[in-house]
Symmetry: C2
Subunit: 352 residues, 2 copies
């Protein structure tokens, strides 16, 4: 609890004077005012986050946390639970979507077992932060204890802080866990106040009947647990998941250490909502990479005042959207750093 | 005229059987069906274009064509005409937005003088394809002769074919030319049948009064010239521009040589419309990179049945949106090539 507490105490608003300086530089580059739109916005935001009007992005890291969900036994997913550890092995051997996209943008992938329901053979690239062998079934009681909730958030903080100490200048979030859209919908419904049916989608691809069942399971879980919408640990312990709590910790650590954190899709969005309940200032450190097909995601982003960069009909998770978002954010930072000014290039300015 | 004719004759529909094979492979990769959304669409489209279900993108080239416009003297732009050659020098010294973004995605930039109104000192990286010292004022008569129109399209074809012979596997289009949104709005209005006021925007940033004048100038140009909406050369010669005709040639050459061509913003969109009038099959070879702030751009894209990949509020041109679009398209191709299948990774498939 001490690490969580001290991390929250470090989080403050990004620097407005630095953002003003970055804006002044952007306005003086050889282009019509504001003509690089959201690239300029991203450059300015990252300047404020990093506290310098000439931020540099060197090492890019995507942290992919995996865990299982007791609620999977309610028939909420199209895939069997064994897929969680199988996909972890796929991440480790480099064959998953996130591996391909991370290589494409020049990022490294850190794979974490935050609570997979089976043992995974040790691997040099796998970080073992297993809190338990999956959560309990939230439809009938809390998914985890309060102690476990604190532990998984703090494991996320520790992991992100180690990555930052190791040189990461921007971090993307990613997830894997059969059943985790169910937990994410429950978290999103509780925090945003929306009805479960308005924030619940098809996950990996369930049919209408399974979707109706999934909504009922979420309603049952919320009724059985009565989570307090203003208490992130209470929500996490009752209707959350280990990877979601872990990613919440990653986001808190980025905010405390003044690094931009690029939020992937719906599950990462639920983790971001928990971070936002812990401390609303965290949203100033978040970059929303894309708008997921899962309809609860845009609800979560709007609740935090975030606008996604991309809309590519993605719904895979793993950090795939975050990878593409990191590349666009990096493009914005390079515009700020590398473009010539009107004076440098000898280009005439706008007619007065 | 022979080169243009023979190029048009080579353009045919991309291979549907190859696209079917690509789709079958995409459906067998370790992810829920269709969960990589538009990345999968792009991979499939590029497969069909290249005629192989395992397409590879090696060299990426952005062709930036610059030219001046006689209509600039009607006060349609916020910047003076001298900015066109100044920005060409900025491209050559690597300080412009397109240089930064091309470096970011690992593309090379080919800068072309297609008709700048002044002489530009020779430079190893500058291709001189100057047709004339800018177009004539379209508000009072044709912008160029029919012979010049053919010449600029053929110069684009030659340039793109040389780039493809040199190894380019994907080409992005880019433009520079003070006054060229005016020509692009005129072309878009003529081809799509929309009113000039519905396809005319602020370009580099003009005020309300100048915008009203710009719309009047476009109406005057269309009335004075009566371009035939079914004749691309007629439209180009009457209300076009040298860089627009040149980029139209680039697009035709890509279609004829079975290479994907990534369309930048509004000016490239007008060039794409001309290519579409020449032969509608060209749109199957186009990838719309982004949705420009210029309101005529989405009208042009819809006319050709294209949906932009990105919406980042860009309005710079130069190929900046194309650069980012190329990177996303490349990500899609890598997904198709590099992801493991369910069988390869030993991952269980969906519950039946």
């Amino acid at each position: 609890m001490n690490l969580l507490k001290s991390t929250l105490e470090l989080i403050e608003k990004p620097s407005q004077p630095v953002m003003d300086k970055a804006q002044a530089r952007l306005d003086n580059l050889t282009k019509p005012l504001g003509s690089l739109g959201r690239l300029e916005e991203l450059a300015k935001k990252i300047s404020g986050i990093m506290g310098t009007e000439r931020p540099r992005i060197s090492q890019k890291t995507i942290i992919v946390a995996a865990a299982d969900h007791g609620v999977a036994k309610e028939g909420v997913s199209a895939f069997p639970q064994e897929v969680t550890p199988q996909m972890v092995l796929n991440f480790l051997s480099g064959g998953a979507g996130i591996n391909v996209l991370a290589r494409h943008i020049g990022a490294n992938v850190l794979v974490v077992d935050a609570g997979v329901a089976s043992d995974i053979a040790p691997h040099t690239a796998l970080l073992n932060k297993k809190i338990a062998y999956g959560t309990k079934n939230m439809a009938t009681g809390p998914a985890m204890s309060m102690d476990e909730a604190v532990k998984t958030v703090e494991a996320g903080i520790e992991t992100a802080e180690a990555a930052i100490k190791g040189g990461a200048s921007i971090i993307g979030t990613g997830d894997m866990g059969i059943g985790n859209t169910t937990a994410s919908s429950a978290i999103t419904a509780v925090i945003t106040g929306q009805k479960p049916e308005d924030v619940t989608g098809r996950g990996t691809g369930i049919d209408d009947k399974s979707l109706a069942n999934k909504v009922e399971v979420i309603k049952k879980a919320i009724k059985a647990n009565s989570p307090d919408k203003n208490n992130a640990l209470d929500i996490l312990s009752k209707v959350g998941g280990f990877e979601i709590g872990f990613l919440c910790g990653v986001i808190l650590a980025c905010a405390a250490n003044k690094k931009p954190v690029v939020i992937d899709g719906f599950i990462s969005g639920a983790a971001a909502l928990l971070a936002y309940v812990f401390k609303p200032e965290t949203s100033d450190y978040m970059i929303a990479s894309h708008c997921s097909v899962e309809k609860g995601h845009i609800v979560a982003l709007k609740h935090m005042g975030l606008k996604p960069i991309l809309d590519l009909d993605l719904r895979l998770g793993e950090g795939t959207g975050a990878a593409l978002g990191i590349s666009i954010a990096e493009a914005g930072v390079k515009i700020l750093n590398e473009m010539a000014t009107f004076a440098q290039a000898g280009v005439s300015e706008k007619n007065k």
